[in-house]
Structures are given as structure tokens and as C-alpha cells.
């Protein structure tokens, strides 16, 4: 009992915290990952709107 009791106690005291930390870490990772995409998309859009087709040029074969 001592050991089982100890294990349950240990889970409550440390295991729960470990799970919580994992969830937080996962959320940060996901936020960072999607944030990276969002930023890239915005920068791409801005660059496109700044470009204006030039005059006086030709294609070279």
C-alpha cells in the first residue's frame, strides 16, 4: 500500500504537472508553427502589391 499509495501520490504531485507542461509546450510549438505561416503569407501578399509591371523590356530566348 505504501508503494501504491506513494505512486498515486507521486502521480498527483508530479505526473499531472508533467502532462500540463507537455500541453503548454505543444501549444507553444503549434502557435509558433502556424504563426510562421501567417507571417510568411502576409509578407508575400505585400511584396506582390508593390510590384508593378515595368515598361520597355523584352524576353530573351
Amino acid at each position: 500500500m505504501e508503494s501504491a499509495g506513494s505512486a498515486a501520490l507521486l502521480f498527483r504531485e508530479y505526473g499531472g504537472n508533467i502532462m500540463m507542461r507537455r500541453r503548454i509546450f505543444l501549444r507553444i510549438l503549434l502557435a509558433g508553427f502556424f504563426g510562421l505561416f501567417a507571417k510568411t503569407t502576409r509578407a508575400e501578399k505585400k511584396a506582390d502589391t508593390n510590384l508593378t509591371m515595368a515598361m520597355f523590356w523584352k524576353k530573351v530566348d
Binding site: 508593390n50 508593378t52 515598361m55 520597355f56 523590356w57 523584352k58 530573351v60
Partner: protein, 324 residues
């Protein structure tokens, strides 16, 4: 499918593979098409006296709404605006100012003209052209200060909307253009002739740099070429050099060199020769017939103007320029 393009705007004729930029840094090949990177994005916006350009025979005493973007087709070692002319567009702070906003701002600031200046307007050709079209519709005149390093076809196209041009004729030798500017003289002379043919009011600026382009023999040759090909009425401005950029080892141009250059040009037949970047009586306009003072200037300020309806108020001689 080939995605290489060639820019035909200036004599550099940059051949650009996919993703590459032109020498002027402002044009880029994207997916096999050439794009301007500076349209509507000026890095310099000012309201200046027109005399600062310098234009001395074009609406004296008025102000010009002046804009520039980053970039230049040349790489002059003496450039006075090298911080923006030799920079890439992304390395400068820019305003969001499309052509219609430029014209609105020019009207709001009571400017009679929009000037494309500071760096080299050829590098923002599309922006300049669209702005010039809108400005003309609103009765605002268009001027540019350029090195004249532009091909004939785009220059003629632009000339339909251009009222005046001040062209930097940096020297009269191919060697100077090659060694000091990274360009060549011939296209600049062609541009001057084209502008004259198109009826654009023309003034010429020559920055005199000690030991590099202050040979009076070359100045005489240049002045004779101007008289023969452009006419004796074209104003020529000899501008004083101050150490800048890569030529900090050279001294400011002595006043004596500038006055010698002026005398040489006038002896060659030019009627209106000015000295700039220094306080001197040669900042003023004199009647070529009766020699009386017509426009007195102190720096960029017009103190007196005795030109009425394009004529000398004292003797009635017609004075070339755009006066009203």
C-alpha cells in the same frame, strides 16, 4: 521556356535571369516578366524652390513638388545623394505615395510643377510617367533632373508629358564617364538632342571637379557642341564640387576655375552661363542684348525679375525659357 528578360530602358541593357535585379537595383525579373520595385514608393519627398534643381529659365520663384526613389543607372564616385542613389529600395525608408497622391500633394502645397530628381528618375520611369500624365491633366507642369542615361524610345514616350529637363553633362570625355561614372558619354549626348527635338525645355548642369574635368579645352569643346547641336540659348550651369562619397580626397572647386569655365563657355557662344553651389553674381540672369540685370538671385531666392511676357523689360529682347 526561357525566363530571361532584357531591360530596354537605359543603355546598360541589363539581361536578367529569373529572380535577378537590374544594375539600378529597382527592376527585377519575376517569373519571366520585368517588374519595378519602386512604383509609388518614394524615399525622398520635398517642396523645393525650382532654382534648386537648378532651373533658372523655368517659372522662376515658384516651388516644385520633388520626389525620388532609391537607385541609379550610374555609379558616380562624386555622387552627392549616394546614400539613396546607391541603395536598394528595401534599404531606404519610403512613403506610400501613388501618382494621384503626388499630384494632390503638389496642388495642396501650391506647387506649379512636379520634379523627378535627387537620384535618377529613369529608375522609377513607370512611376514618373503615370504621375506626369495625371499632373498634366491637372495643369501641373513636369520637370526632371536626370543624368540623361536613357534610351531614345522611352525618352520620346516620356517627352509627351515632360515640360523641362535639367541634364547633368558630367564631362565631355568618354574616359571620365567610363572611369568615374561607370557609363558612357554618347547616350547622354543623344538624349540631349532627343529632348531638344521633342521641344522639352532644356538646361544643362556640369559639376566641375578639380583635376578630373576642369580642363578648359574640354569645356570649350563641350560648349561648342551645345551651341551647334542644341542652340546658344540653352542655359549651362557650372556647379561647384564639394568632397563627397568616394572623392573625399579632392578639394572643393576653386572659384577661379568656375569663372574661367563660364568665360570659356560664353566665348564659345552660349548666352546664359551660370555658376552654382557658391554665392556669385553669375547666379543672376543678364540680358544678352542690353546686358542689364534681368533676374537677381541670392541662393534659391529670386529678389528681382525684369522679364515680362518672356522679354527683357528694358530692350524688348526675347529671353528663351518658360516664364508663365
Amino acid at each position: 521556356m526561357a525566363k530571361t528578360v532584357q531591360c530596354e530602358l537605359c543603355p546598360n541593357g541589363c539581361v536578367l535571369e529569373e529572380g535577378r535585379r537590374s544594375r539600378c537595383r529597382t527592376r527585377m525579373n519575376k517569373d519571366g516578366s520585368l517588374y519595378s520595385l519602386v512604383y509609388g514608393k518614394p524615399c525622398a519627398v520635398h517642396v523645393d524652390p525650382i532654382e534648386k534643381k537648378p532651373f533658372f529659365h523655368f517659372l522662376p520663384g515658384t516651388t516644385a513638388f520633388s520626389i525620388a526613389t532609391a537607385g541609379c543607372v550610374l555609379s558616380c564616385k562624386f555622387c552627392q545623394n549616394w546614400q539613396i542613389s546607391q541603395a536598394s529600395p528595401e534599404d531606404t525608408d519610403t512613403y506610400d505615395m501613388p501618382p494621384d497622391k503626388v499630384v494632390r500633394q503638389a496642388i495642396a502645397h501650391k506647387c506649379r510643377s512636379v520634379t523627378y530628381t535627387y537620384t535618377e528618375p529613369t529608375v522609377f520611369y513607370e512611376y514618373m510617367y503615370d504621375t506626369a500624365v495625371l499632373a498634366k491633366k491637372q495643369g501641373i507642369k513636369n520637370t526632371m533632373h536626370s543624368c540623361g542615361y536613357i534610351n531614345e524610345k522611352p525618352l520620346r514616350h516620356l517627352s509627351n508629358y515632360l515640360d523641362a529637363a535639367d541634364i547633368d553633362l558630367k564631362a565631355f570625355t568618354e574616359d571620365f564617364y567610363d572611369r568615374i561614372c561607370g557609363g558612357s558619354l554618347k547616350p547622354v549626348l543623344n538624349a540631349l538632342v532627343t529632348l531638344k527635338q521633342e521641344g522639352v525645355w532644356l538646361e544643362i548642369t556640369n559639376l566641375v571637379i578639380s583635376t578630373l574635368n576642369d580642363d578648359m579645352k574640354n569645356i570649350r569643346e563641350m560648349s561648342r557642341w551645345i551651341v551647334k547641336n542644341l542652340g546658344s540659348d540653352v542655359p549651362l550651369h557650372f556647379s561647384r564640387f564639394f568632397p563627397h562619397y568616394k572623392l573625399t580626397n579632392l578639394p572643393p572647386t576653386p572659384l577661379e576655375t568656375l569663372t574661367d569655365a563660364r568665360k570659356t563657355a560664353m566665348d564659345a557662344g552660349l548666352k546664359f552661363v551660370y555658376i552654382g553651389n557658391i554665392r556669385h553674381e553669375a547666379e543672376n540672369t543678364f540680358c544678352p542684348q542690353c546686358r542689364k540685370l534681368l533676374i537677381e538671385r541670392i541662393g534659391y531666392v529670386v529678389k528681382q525679375n525684369h522679364i515680362a511676357n518672356g522679354k527683357c523689360r528694358f530692350c524688348g529682347t526675347a529671353i528663351s525659357g518658360i516664364w508663365g
